[in-house]
């Protein structure tokens, strides 16, 4: 299905290209042809922005930096070394990619609004630097001897052709990416970056790959823009307007879609041109007002862009799904794929020693030491605020401890990022479930399965096995957002299993379940255990746990209160006191 999805997109792209080129061939007015050349440039910019920001959810105001570098590279190479654009546009693509990587490395430390605002600074700093260097205006020299060599065509039709080729190339790349592991990973990052990291997605790596490709495309667009315009000024290529246009076109058409940015450019570029041509001379300013009002009106009517609105009008009530449309029937579910083999039961798999973490004055974890044995089912209990979830966050790398060490299979875990820890074999579920809401259950789990394989087929098989194990085959095609509480928890468990862990951290998986569902869940946990996977489970209440676990670790105020078999723990006075208060103990 996913292969045919790609094929369908390719067919659409080819059709689009054909229609566009036929239209261009019919038009003889050189002005319309120029507009038809500029539309693809901005469509590519929109797609480039969309490829990064639309898929990863990190809003970039800085795409002008890559665009401008591409444009200046082409212009300056031609002026200084007489290099022709056939060579320099690929170079501009390369330069864009490299600059994207360089920008990404420091800037990905930031998230959300901070990231967006930091990206704003790059093109503006470059703008002033290029002015300072004295490149206020660079004109590409007219070459009469070898116009073709220098992309200086008599017939404006060829510019349209080149622009279109660039656009088709970008569309193909976008299609390939959106159906690949990269596309899935970016969607997961966009939907929930923490969860993505926890299921083993190296978020930093994929973000860097995405910004590099995206910036390379922006560089190519910039290079071609310089050839079309023949004059490059800092404001024209590094200005706020360039980044803003890319983002407006993408958002106007529909963020995160293949055709949204193209639609945005096809509607807005000519619209703004027509308005300028018709009104600007007589009523300066009115064209901008109309253009602005048009944008505002569309955003109020379709806040997520035209394409999404059209889609929801055509198929009302249908939940919007992202990602691939793979179905569980495509893969065989073989549970043995998930089995873990141990040489040695009762060997220590995880050792925590002297682990401490404080938030301000609150000691969330206080010099905690304990061990987990291979193959056991360990319950961690403690009253509210005992530091259970903080402990899990420390174990899977979300939080760095102030002090202490964690060893997993005799390897130190400190300072590893969550995705590394996941790859080593520790998976987790969350107290508040973190599904990728706009992905299907199957895709949710497939994202987790990419940890140990990059083949989509293999990932699909592992995911199917995990889904079969937890019994969610029926819900496979539902979006993550539409699941019941029980299904969500099962899905998270399946997602964790898909990373083929040796140890699963399960966070309050029974919370809010009715007794029947709770019983079902316990059965599933037993099945997981039967695969040989070690389970550490946090639970608030002791009752359900007593029949399940081999051993308890009891926490209170971040410190170890007691540990031992269920029978020992229920009789332990310190535990009873912590749970029920001193008074109860005295009365008893």
């Amino acid at each position: 299905m996913s292969v045919s999805g790609v094929r369908k997109d390719f067919l659409h792209i080819a059709l689009f290209g054909l229609v566009y080129i036929v239209l261009a061939a019919l038009v003889s007015n050189s002005y319309y042809l120029l507009i038809m050349t500029i539309v693809p440039v901005w469509a590519v910019m929109g797609l480039s922005w969309n490829l990064f920001s639309g898929y990863s959810g990190l809003i970039s105001f800085g795409h002008a930096a890559f665009f401008g570098l591409g444009a200046y590279l082409v212009a300056l190479c031609m002026v200084v070394w007489e290099l022709n654009p056939w060579i320099t546009i690929p170079l501009a693509t390369l330069a864009g990619g490299v600059s994207g990587l360089l920008v990404g490395i420091p800037t990905f430390r930031l998230r959300g609004h901070y990231f967006a605002l930091a990206m704003l600074a790059y093109p503006l700093a470059l703008l002033y630097i290029f002015e300072w260097l004295g490149y206020q205006e660079v004109a590409l020299p007219m070459n009469r001897k070898a116009p073709l060599m220098y992309m200086q065509f008599e017939n404006p039709f060829y510019y349209v052709l080149l622009g279109l080729l660039l656009l088709l190339f970008t569309l193909v790349i976008t299609t390939l990416i959106s159906h690949s592991r990269l596309g899935m990973s970016l969607l997961a990052i966009k939907l929930d970056e923490d969860a993505a990291e926890a299921v083993g997605i190296n978020t930093l790596y994929w973000k860097l790959v995405a910004i590099t490709i995206s910036a390379a495309l922006a560089g190519a667009a910039g290079g071609f823009y310089a050839v079309v315009l023949l004059v490059v000024t800092p404001l024209a290529v590094f200005g706020m307007l360039v980044s803003a246009q890319a983002l407006i076109f993408a958002m106007f058409g529909g963020v995160g879609t293949l055709w949204g940015p193209v639609l945005g450019a096809i509607i807005l570029v000519p619209l703004s041109e027509i308005l300028y041509a018709r009104y600007a001379a007589d009523f300066p300013g009115i064209q901008g007002v109309i253009y602005g009002v048009a944008i505002i009106a569309v955003i109020l009517f379709a806040p997520e862009g035209i394409l999404w609105k059209v889609r929801s009008l055509l198929r009302p009530g249908q939940f919007r799904m992202l990602g691939s449309s793979a179905s569980v029937a495509d893969f065989s579910a073989d549970e043995s794929l998930l089995a873990v083999t141990h040489d040695d039961r009762n060997e220590t798999i995880l050792e925590v020693s002297d682990l401490s973490k404080a938030y301000g004055g609150l000691q969330a974890t206080d010099a905690l030491s304990f061990k987990v044995r291979q193959g056991e089912l360990l319950g961690i209990i403690g009253p509210n605020g005992a530091g259970k979830t903080t402990l899990f966050n420390l174990l899977n790398g979300f939080v760095k401890p102030d002090k202490g060490s964690i060893h997993f299979q005799n390897k130190a875990l400190l300072n590893l990022r969550p995705n590394r820890i996941c790859a080593m074999g520790i998976a987790r579920t969350f107290q508040v479930a973190k599904p990728f809401t706009h992905l299907s259950v199957l895709d949710n789990v497939i994202v987790g399965a990419y940890v140990h394989t990059s083949s989509r087929q293999a990932a699909g098989q592992i995911a199917s096995a995990a889904i079969a194990l937890v019994g969610l085959e029926q819900q496979c095609d539902l979006p993550g957002a539409n699941l019941t509480n029980k299904e969500l928890r099962l899905m998270e468990l399946a997602r964790a299993l898909a990373s083929k862990p040796s140890l699963i951290l399960v966070d309050e998986i029974l919370a809010g379940l009715d007794p029947e569902a709770m019983q079902e869940m316990l059965v599933v946990l037993q099945k997981v255990r039967a695969l040989g996977i070690t389970i550490v489970i946090i639970e608030h209440s002791m009752q359900a746990m007593v029949q399940l676990v081999d051993r308890f670790v009891v926490l209170d105020h971040g410190a170890l209160l007691a540990q031992g078999s269920p029978e020992e723990i229920v009789k332990n006075p310190a535990v009873i006191e912590a749970y029920l208060g001193k008074k109860w103990l005295e009365n008893a």
């Binding site: 959810g57 809003i59 420091p106 800037t107 430390r109 930031l110 609004h113 901070y114 967006a116 605002l117 930091a118 704003l120 600074a121 790059y122 503006l124 700093a125 002033y128 630097i129 002015e131 300072w132 966009k190 706020m240 803003a244 983002l247 407006i248 958002m251 106007f252 963020v255 995160g256 009523f283 300066p284 300013g285 009115i286 064209q287 901008g288 007002v289 253009y291 602005g292 009002v293 944008i295 505002i296 955003i299 109020l300 806040p303 997520e304 862009g305 966050n393 979300f398 939080v399």
Partner: protein
């Protein structure tokens, strides 16, 4: 200068802090404040009573309430549709829609300004703007300190406005409801606070205060309808520098930007002034994203 940047940053940070909206039209509201001051100056300036040197400064302060009303209306009609609770259904909490919407508003205001006010630069000037209090000469013949009179008065007014607003936020019921809506909109609703209203007021206050900053700046430099874009970026730099959402931080952040501009000009080529700002901005945001004066993020 710095104090006025500070004031504009405070306006922006109110909107961001309470509503979590990046408002790109902020510079245009500043522009509205400037033109408000200009037109009142042009209309009333002819009467002898209004001839005093204090008059432009009074107008600057009046620009606040005037633009505040504009802000209320705009929020009601447009912004409300894509922010707050309405936005939670949308992808990325409606951030995309907010960005495009505020960019659209910026376009309309800018070009509407061009249409209505024309493109000639104008200014509200009186002789204070080119007079200085000279201290000196001190230490030898040539060194003396010049303090521009108009700028000094503007700076003092700016500080007063910020302190006034700070008190409003800290002491009154209104301020409390604003802060509550900022901290946790859902909880605020349960507490019986009208979050929509709080957002509307926050937007109004935000643009109003920025407009005062604009009005004060108007007595300093000529402006035309396109001036907003030049300042909005400086405003964001200041806001981030001070820590997103903190009023005191934003004011100090804006102030630091002003100072940074001056200091860098002494050491480096003048035209790299703004590059220096952006590079400092990047360094700070990368290594101390909570800003100099902001609290550390509570999220892990």
């Amino acid at each position: 200068m710095g104090a006025m940047y500070g004031l504009m940053c405070v306006g922006l940070t109110i909107i961001f802090g309470v509503m979590r909206v990046i408002n790109f039209a902020q510079g245009e509201f500043m522009m509205l404040g400037m033109y408000f001051a200009y037109f009142c100056f042009a209309w009333f300036g002819t009467y002898a009573f209004f001839d005093g040197l204090w008059f432009p400064f009074l107008l600057a302060l009046l620009a606040g309430p005037a633009v505040f009303l504009v802000g209320l209306v705009l929020h009601r009609l447009l912004i409300n549709a894509v922010t707050g609770r309405q936005a939670s259904q949308l992808e990325a909490q409606g951030h995309y829609a907010q960005l495009v919407l505020t960019l659209g508003i910026a376009l309309v205001l800018q070009n509407g300004g061009l249409f209505l006010f024309g493109s000639s630069p104008v200014s509200v000037s009186n002789e204070l703007s080119y007079s200085a209090w000279e201290w000196g000469p001190m230490i030898g013949e040539r060194v003396s300190v010049f303090v521009n009179q108009a700028q000094t008065i503007s700076a003092i007014l700016a500080v007063f406005v910020v302190i006034g607003f700070g008190l409003l936020m800290a002491r009154t019921r209104l301020g409390k409801s604003l802060r509550a809506s900022a901290d946790n909109p859902d909880a605020a609703i349960y507490m019986g606070i009208n979050v929509d209203r709080a957002h509307r007021l926050a937007f109004g206050f935000g643009v109003g205060i920025t407009a005062i900053g604009g009005g004060l700046l108007a007595s300093n430099a000529p402006f035309q309808p396109y001036i907003g874009t030049e300042y909005v970026i400086i405003m964001y730099a200041g806001v981030v520098l001070g820590g997103l959402g903190s009023i005191r931080g934003a004011f100090l952040g804006g102030l630091s930007i002003g100072v940074l501009q001056q200091v860098s000009a002494i050491i480096l080529p003048n035209q790299l002034q703004n590059t220096v700002i952006f590079i400092c901005f990047l360094i700070i945001i990368l290594f101390r994203p909570q800003g100099f004066f902001g609290k550390k993020d509570r999220t892990a």
